[in-house]
């Protein structure tokens, strides 16, 4: 019975984490972004392992606080939140569902695997999330946040964010 209870609670914690959205991009969860790495749940150890994205990301603290509140308000006060910087977060960990949500929201998801760095300046085609044109132009490597670059579409003339590959 104990093992079943533990399993149910662990599943519950994952469900709660899936409801925690990124503060900057409120349509995607911290699980879909690959920020939540693991939930270790047993009598001996109760831990949620998270990983920060960019070194200076100002949302890191907020995400941790939101997870803490979510856990506490559902009775999981004894679950520790551990922030692990290694292995380093990579956009490869963004789920397929997450990438779809980013695109629907108007942010183009990373188009290549993180191993390939030559993705600015015409080496990779970034298509406009609104009109699908490939006639897009990089405006700045750093957009509204450190993780995004700013592009503009030369057909529909709208600007848009591109989630950089890292």
């Amino acid at each position: 019975m104990e093992a079943i209870k533990t399993h149910i609670e662990q599943e519950h914690i994952w469900t709660l984490l899936e409801s925690v959205k990124d503060p900057e991009i409120p349509v995607i969860s911290v699980c879909e972004l690959g920020i939540v790495k693991d939930v270790i749940y047993s009598d001996a150890i109760k831990q949620v392992i998270i990983t920060p994205t960019y070194s200076g990301c100002p949302a890191t603290k907020e995400i941790e606080m939101t997870i803490r509140i979510e856990l506490d308000s559902h009775g999981y006060k004894d679950v520790e939140i551990i922030s692990q910087i290694s292995p380093a977060w990579t956009t490869d960990w963004i789920t397929e569902e997450g990438r779809k949500k980013l695109l629907e929201y108007g942010i183009v998801p990373p188009v290549t695997a993180s191993g390939k760095f030559g993705l600015m300046h015409g080496e990779v085609i970034i298509t406009c999330p609104r009109c699908n044109s490939s006639k897009t132009k990089l405006v700045s490597e750093f957009g509204s946040t450190a993780c995004k670059a700013l592009y503009k579409c030369e057909e529909c003339l709208e600007p848009f964010d591109y989630f950089k590959c890292i």
């Binding site: 070194s55 200076g56 910087i85 290694s86 700045s140 750093f142 946040t145 450190a146 950089k164 890292i166």
Partner: protein
């Protein structure tokens, strides 16, 4: 427990470079020549300051009886171990770009090498930083090209900036005695080896954009040992003001 002073100094050197450089670039906030550049520079600054936090948190555990905030806000200039290059005033946009380009071109091979550090914490921090500094270098290198191959005015301002900052490049790419021990302990990669690579990269770019590099061999130094230019005093006066005027104040 035996404290490894070389490890502490090494961590602080990398941390102080990150904080002081990050702080200097953040001074462009609301003053960028274009909005996109303003946003780019402040985001780059965030990356550096973020790295400094990981390093100060680690240094605090090694030193004991202190924390990241005390290390950042309560040390005086002679205790900072950043290289002189990063404390220099931003000056005009060309000067900032050259400063950034010099340090970014050092950071790329440095953090790549640091991923193999015998110290697991440093290796972990290097893994994150390595990816970020590649984007920094793309930004600064592209601006070197735009300014160098832009107008006569942008080219001459860039040349002036390179002339001004060149004497600060040596301290960055030459290992001192503390670096040598750290390299021996495999805490950091071979600085001198990185220096060879750095010179090749920089000379190739300068040739491409028609910028002349001074033949003077004399280089400024002292920062790593806490002997700083007057610039650091100005940085700390602004950066540390609130903590010193209102001790223990919290957000």
């Amino acid at each position: 427990m035996q404290t490894n002073q070389v490890l502490i100094d090494t961590v602080l050197r990398i941390a102080d470079n990150a904080l002081i450089h990050g702080h200097r670039i953040s001074e462009w906030c609301s003053k960028g020549p274009e909005m996109e550049i303003d946003i780019a520079l402040t985001n780059i600054a965030l990356d550096h300051v973020g790295r400094s936090r990981y390093l100060y948190q680690y240094a605090a555990t090694l030193i004991g009886n202190t924390d990241e905030d005390q290390l950042a806000y309560l040390r005086d200039a002679w205790d900072f171990k950043n290289i002189l290059l990063v404390e220099q005033a931003n000056g005009d946009f060309a000067n900032t770009i050259v400063k950034n380009y010099f340090i970014d071109s050092f950071h790329v091979p440095f953090f790549l090498g640091l991923q193999s550090s015998a110290d697991k914490q440093l290796a972990g921090i290097a893994e994150k930083s390595s990816k970020e500094v590649k984007y920094h270098q793309t930004f600064s290198r592209d601006w070197m090209r735009r300014l160098g191959q832009g107008t006569e005015l942008s080219h001459s301002k860039l040349q002036e900036a390179v002339d001004h900052l060149w004497p600060f490049s040596g301290e960055m790419i030459v290992a001192d005695d503390v670096d040598a021990v750290a390299i021996g302990q495999q805490l950091i990669p071979d600085i001198n080896g990185i220096g060879v690579y750095w010179k090749a990269e920089v000379q190739a770019l300068m040739q491409e954009i028609g910028i002349i590099i001074s033949e003077n061999a004399w280089m400024q130094s002292g920062g790593k040992k806490g002997i700083h230019t007057e610039q650091l005093g100005l940085v700390l006066a602004e950066m540390q003001f609130i903590q010193r005027a209102y001790p223990n104040s919290q957000w």
